[in-house]
Symmetry: C2
Subunit: 507 residues, 2 copies
């Protein structure tokens, strides 16, 4: 049950046979009006960005009585995670699946009474209950058991660096450098790892795993870091079945924007949140006594402290004064590698509900049934890799390309596509990519500096979170950390000033 | 690193060869002075109990600006989870191990910057690196691999009610009744389940599993509910290795009282917490406009709302007016079944660090190396079952019984016990048992009513939590739920009164 009306965001695209490709789709995450009141004073905290990181930070601070201003470039909350509500069905444009083994998002669901509001994406026994792998030479149809055992055999060879499938190397994935031996694995890419083990893999194992990995890292085999995969595997309890349950099974019945909205509304209800949407930040200037944030539109906002939740790939697109630390600049210039494509299809074919398709080096290389729409059609989601010459350029009106890519998974089964829905994250100037996945050496070189505060400016993002980096959970983790750091700082300042009777409003 | 000095609590016992048995051991969880200021006004919220449930509730409320009074029977925080700091080493008297797959406690560790402050209890390769099972007829020495494969084989037969070791029956353990088929399994006991499968088990499997179960439920095979085990198994990701990592591996370097203290101190620092320790509650009277709480010492405290975090087994020991709902009364009268014993030993024998001992129907039936003390001795922890005629009656000065029980695990290896430390939870009038484990039919009959609010009185406890029931995590979950319910209620009342400018101080 959505508590809010949907409004059109200018983001996202929808294609239907009747209307062709249209930009702008509805979401309950759109905030109207886009500002709640003028902001000229010096706030305690200014949060840049209303993704889960920013939302968590501003909620924690406003609930604790602090005066917070949110400045957001988009017309909606959610950042790289948002759902579009179309004909009574939530399409997840970015981050989707959650699980109780992801501690920070689970606690948010519990806080808002939503921990029973999950439904299960993959179901078995409906129609074409198989996995079809379209690959050069021969298409392979696998039973669920064959699909699992092939991919499981392959991935276990891939991660078995320690004779214990990663358990010995990464016993403590929320403290990933607990074991210093992990550093070596940050120096190599997926391709390097394959060079060590591919002689022991069958061609089917190799092709299936590479297809899976291409939409896991969203990069190429050459530019994806092996350390990041091992760490993620450890977070998934070192087990493919667990990975499937933690990352691809449970989604919010009302869509991610329903949760984001609960967090935002919680903050608004405190009376302590001022906000301004449609306000892309041009510059951030730390003046010592306070910080000035200028938008592209010329607005100037001021606060004692800033929590910048700007994604890694666009950090350098803001003018920072003093400049970003060289390591932050270098990390942003290199960028994380995930340029994955995600496209939803609504198809008038109930036989596809249990279907899974893989396609070797297809512009969409993995699809599976994700739900049934109120109209009784099957909803499938598909992911595509970032391979040059292959990647769908969705923003260039390539809905036709997405349609063809869907059809290639199972000729004859996708003849009646009623709708495509997608957000082209790679062309999104406020994201320039999808969920974070680091290249080789980046974790070792850049994570520490990316987490560093500069004066009055804190940097928080899922992109450099400690635990579920690149996930909803990591965003919430890092946003909460930044809020706590500032809350303790304000408390200490209050203690020094001898003012113990009420919450501090200015430092 | 402990930030607080330890004080002696009147709880807990220590035995040394020099001093014999002494009552009262040091803990950083002891709060001195026991009250911070007089309390005569009507508070917004009164929290009964300073275990993790109560601490979480009062922290969430005070941080959000609400006026809270804590009333606690003991001289310390932590309830059934607390650590004693003896000669630079934290002994965990109750709840011990935590993990990032326990979402609520993990979020607390992150909030206080403690998510790297874990150390690993079991280590391999130190001395007698084996599991020894002392049983009638023959003692069996097992390698680590043999121990795991025997217990794993046994437990997988035990839980395999669905051909998928519980995964099909309990896909969603934080919403345990998601699949209505689970209800049947609440009608049977461990003994009933064994009757179905024991013909397929080897004698060693059967004896090892029953020994393990006896200190998992802390009850007998007859009075322990199979549903509770299946649910817990699902929370442990349906896997014995996972269970071992989630429930028996990672402990806080500074002890659980260090975390409890951080939560308590956080609340105190808001200026919104009034507290009174050494104040056992005699009666709770809901007068409609407010609630009066009388202590055994005759103090009367008042608040608009109460969060009672009183454990299941002592709910009936308070006089409630209006009376507890009949279902709550019946559940408390029956009580959960966990009457497990836990005893720590410090032994001058480094060879025991990697040792695990099982003993068939011993007064202590399971022990393992848990650390090395600053003096260089081995710290072992042992658990004993609640079997009649076998259970250690620790409060009756039976340190000698505990010593003998330790020695029986490995004759000759426990000759130089330097210290025993324990808290006799079964004789503790404010606990009457250890961590919650329900008997057959109790989950179906009582959980809903145990969670019910009565007027101005909310009931929160790990004992009826949705997820990690009986665990630290469940206590934090349920305490946060109660706090959120009241915060929303106060916010709604504030909205109705038209007062939107500041936090409400009275309804």
């Amino acid at each position: 049950m959505a508590h809010h009306k949907s409004h059109l965001t200018r983001e996202g695209h929808q294609w239907t046979p009747q209307s062709g490709l249209q930009s702008g789709i509805p979401s309950i995450g759109v905030i109207k009006p886009s500002a709640n009141r003028p902001s000229t004073k010096i706030h305690e905290v200014l949060v840049i960005g209303a993704g889960y990181t920013g939302l968590t930070a501003l909620r924690d601070l406003t609930v604790a009585g602090h005066d917070v201003l949110l400045v957001e470039a988009r017309d909606r909350i959610g950042g790289r995670t948002w759902s579009s509500n179309i004909d009574g069905y939530p399409y997840e444009m970015g981050g989707t699946w959650v699980h109780w083994n992801q501690p920070f998002v689970w606690r948010e669901l519990a806080r808002y009474g939503m921990s029973k509001d999950l439904e299960i994406s993959p179901v078995t026994g409906k129609g074409l209950d198989r996995a079809t792998f379209v690959r050069p030479g021969s298409t392979v149809h696998m039973s669920r058991e064959e699909e699992f055992s092939t991919l499981n055999s392959a991935v276990r060879k891939f991660v078995n660096v320690d004779g214990k499938h990663g358990r010995a190397l990464f016993p403590y994935p929320h403290n990933p450098h607990f074991n210093p031996d992990v550093a070596h694995y940050d120096t190599i890419s997926f391709a390097d790892r394959f060079a060590q083990i591919e002689d022991d893999m069958t061609p089917l194992e190799l092709q299936l795993l590479k297809t899976f990995l291409s939409v896991t890292s969203g990069g190429t085999m050459e530019n994806s870091g092996f350390f990041e995969f091992l760490r993620w595997w450890a977070l998934n309890n070192y087990d493919l079945q667990e990975l499937s349950e933690l990352c691809l099974t449970f989604k919010l019945r009302d869509g991610q924007s329903a949760l984001a909205r609960r967090i935002f509304d919680d903050a608004v209800a405190t009376g302590n949140l001022t906000y301004s949407f449609n306000s892309p930040v041009a510059s951030v200037t730390d003046l010592g006594s306070h910080v000035e944030v200028k938008t592209r539109g010329g607005d100037v906002f001021k606060a004692r402290r800033i929590i910048a939740t700007v994604p890694l790939n666009i950090l350098n697109d803001i003018k920072w004064s003093p400049p970003l630390l060289p390591g932050k600049q270098a990390a942003s210039a290199q960028g994380h590698v995930n340029k994955c494509t995600k496209v939803h299809a609504e198809v008038a074919n109930p036989a596809l509900r249990s279907f899974t398709g893989y396609r070797w080096e297809g512009p969409l290389s993995w699809t599976f049934g994700d739900g049934t729409t109120p109209a009784g059609n099957t909803h499938l989601v598909a992911f595509g890799p970032s391979y040059e010459g292959i990647q769908l350029k969705l923003a260039q009106n390539q809905a036709q390309g997405a349609l063809e890519a869907y059809k290639a998974f199972a000729p004859g089964e996708f003849d009646d596509v009623r709708r495509l829905v997608f957000h082209d994250w790679n062309e999104d100037e406020f994201a320039k990519g999808t969920w974070e996945f680091l290249g080789p050496n980046m974790a070792t070189r850049y994570l520490d500096v990316l987490r560093k505060r500069q004066g009055n400016v804190l940097f928080a993002s899922a992109d450099w979170a400690m635990g579920w980096r690149g996930f909803i959970d990591g965003g919430i983790e890092d946003g909460a950390n930044a809020a706590m750091e500032l809350a303790l700082e304000f408390r200490a300042a209050k203690g020094e000033s001898g003012n113990t009777g009420k919450l501090v409003s200015k430092l």
